[in-house]
């Protein structure tokens, strides 16, 4: 089997596929991941803020039913497996981007799957903020909005960056799955060539590239997070 896998013809065809299809696939994977993460943050960040600020002892207590609904919706969306979720949001994708299949359409389920996750990550970051610092801001006459914008979020930037890194690597993994419903990118290549056409070498290369991308995102994210943390400055 190994000699078939590495036969000159296979290698030649694999190289051809790598040359012709990989650049576009990498680009598609990157832009789907980045756009989906960005949108997930746009929706998830305010929700995460509400999860912390809206609590009974938070800076902006919200009515209990509102908090309950928020929590239930987030938990519900988080418990649907991504593969099922992709199919379930077909109508929504059709409504928003006009079609349910393809690269752009795959952004819709990605965002829907990712924003509740991001909301929970944001929640955990904001909970790390020292409550005494929030009390300090209150003692200086800060409004709830000022506390959120000037204290809670800026003080948790390093933690947020590190959690957003977790989000982007997870979304990258999900985006590969969306190859199933016709989303473009490295996932599609792995599935089409590896699974449907038994070209394991192509699949392997696509997977290796996904691993490399995760590594890059992770190290860039970690570096940004550490660099942004002013608590780590030497004396």
């Amino acid at each position: 089997m190994l000699d078939k896998l590495l036969s000159p013809e296979t290698i030649e065809e694999t190289l051809r596929i790598v040359q012709n299809e990989f650049p576009l696939a990498i680009w598609e994977t990157l832009y789907v991941t980045v756009i989906a993460t960005a949108l997930a943050i746009v929706i998830g960040l305010p929700l995460g803020v509400l999860l912390v600020a809206g609590e009974k002892n938070g800076v902006l207590p919200l009515p209990r039913p509102v908090m309950q609904v928020l929590n239930v919706v987030i938990n519900l969306l988080r418990s649907v497996p991504f593969l099922i979720l992709m199919i379930m949001v077909f109508p929504l994708a059709r409504l928003i981007v006009g079609t349910a299949v393809g690269t752009v359409a795959s952004i819709v389920p990605l965002v829907i799957a990712a924003f509740p996750f991001v909301a929970r990550l944001v929640e955990s970051s904001l909970r790390e903020v020292n409550p005494n610092i929030i009390e300090m801001a209150q003692s200086m006459g800060a409004s709830p909005f000022q506390i959120i914008m000037k204290v809670m979020i800026p003080e948790s930037v390093p933690s947020l960056l590190s959690n957003f890194t977790i989000a982007i690597t997870t979304i990258l993994g999900y985006s590969a799955m969306s190859g199933i419903i016709g989303g473009g990118g490295l996932g599609k290549i792995a599935i089409n060539y590896g699974y449907y056409r038994y070209m394991y070498l192509v699949m392997l290369l696509a997977v290796i590239l996904l691993i490399v991308l995760v590594q890059i995102f992770q190290s860039v994210g970690t570096r940004l997070s550490v660099k942004s943390d002013k608590r780590l400055k030497g004396k």
Binding site: I133, A137, Q138, M140, G141, K150, E155, D229, K230, L232
Partner: protein, 336 residues
């Protein structure tokens, strides 16, 4: 002037209702450095948080210059809070902002434009003696320096009152002393009233003019620091003045007269005071209890002396001790 009237605060906990403050009445005059002292759990922190309504009292009022601040709307209260600022045991600086930006923080909240805020912050860095730390981050500073930045931040909005919640409890004695000096200096120069919450008698001794002793939510004693020191009446006060065995120390011995010596910065720490008194005045005094500390070459704290002798001997001893600057001397009598 701050008037605290019939203030009570209850907390609902899983174990039922806890009364943190019970009918507290205090008046703090403008320009005072007012100490509120008590053991852990006495209700000090709750009391100070009621002064700026971080905690809403269950009953009673807090009047600042005659204005009942409990009756203010949320937005009015936020404005009043700019005039009653606070420093904390843990400094509570924004760790992701530079020192300059930390000092600008309350000005930002108040909507002061950036250039003016920066100018004011630079002035305040001078006031607290850290002009070179504008662009440093709090993590790069020592505890004492962080507290100085916190003080500068608390002064940014030109407050009338500075609330200090255990502001020196996390600092070593030398740094504590320098922070207290700074607070005293601010009180003198800017005329800001200071309310010091503390569990350390030494802090009260060093800078407060008046003190209230809080015990289990009650104000058990209130008055001039010198008075409370020379004749603590309540159990809680005795315990604070003489942390170890106040009862035994204050137990009367027959024929013995007792005088209390309070050092408030006397340059006397290197003088063998009691021995000198014995040699020069021929008065033998026994030290019944003492809690003194030397900071630099100055002595702080107090001492209780027992003297066997007649009125004249006691009078001579008191006169001798009084001749030393910054030493308060008082006879302790039973009815005190």
């Amino acid at each position: 002037m701050i008037e605290i009237r019939n203030l009570s605060k209850e907390f609902q906990t899983a174990d039922g209702t806890v009364e943190a403050l019970k009918n507290v009445n205090l008046t703090i005059q403008d320009g005072d450095i007012y100490g509120i002292i008590g053991m852990s759990g006495a209700g000090k922190s709750t009391l100070v948080r009621c002064i700026n309504m971080l905690e809403r009292p269950t009953e009673g009022q807090v009047l600042i210059d005659g204005q009942d601040i409990g009756a203010l709307s949320t937005s009015e209260l936020r404005k009043v809070r700019r005039e009653i600022t606070m420093i904390f045991q843990g400094f509570n600086l924004l760790m992701q902002r530079t020192c300059l930006k930390n000092i600008c923080f309350p000005l930002e909240l108040a909507g002061v434009n950036k250039a003016d805020a920066k100018k004011r912050a630079m002035e305040l860095l001078e006031v607290v003696g850290l002009p070179d730390k504008a662009n440093a981050y709090p993590a790069q500073l020592s505890g004492g320096q962080q507290q100085r930045i916190a003080i500068a931040r608390a002064l940014a909005t030109d407050p009338k009152v500075l609330l200090c919640d255990e502001a020196t409890s996390a600092l070593d004695p030398k740094t504590t002393h320098s922070i207290l000096e700074l607070i005293r200096d601010i009180n003198h120069r800017l005329g800001i009233s200071v309310i010091m919450i503390t569990h350390q008698m030494s802090v009260v001794e060093e800078i407060c003019s008046r003190v209230a002793i809080l015990d289990e939510g009650h104000v058990v004693e209130e008055g001039l620091v010198s008075e409370i020191f020379s004749s603590p009446k309540s159990k809680a006060a005795k315990r604070l003045v003489f942390p170890e065995g106040a009862e035994e120390i204050l137990l009367e011995t027959k024929g013995e007269r007792r005088i209390r010596v309070v050092f408030s910065g006397a340059v006397a720490s290197r003088e063998p005071l009691i021995a000198k008194m014995a040699m020069e005045e021929h008065i033998a005094a026994s030290i019944l209890g003492a809690s003194t500390r030397s900071i630099g070459d100055k002595a702080y704290g107090n001492m209780l002396l027992g003297i066997n002798g007649d009125d004249d001997t006691v009078q001579r001893a008191m006169n001798y001790l009084r001749s030393i600057p910054d030493v308060l001397v008082e006879e302790v009598t039973d009815n005190a």
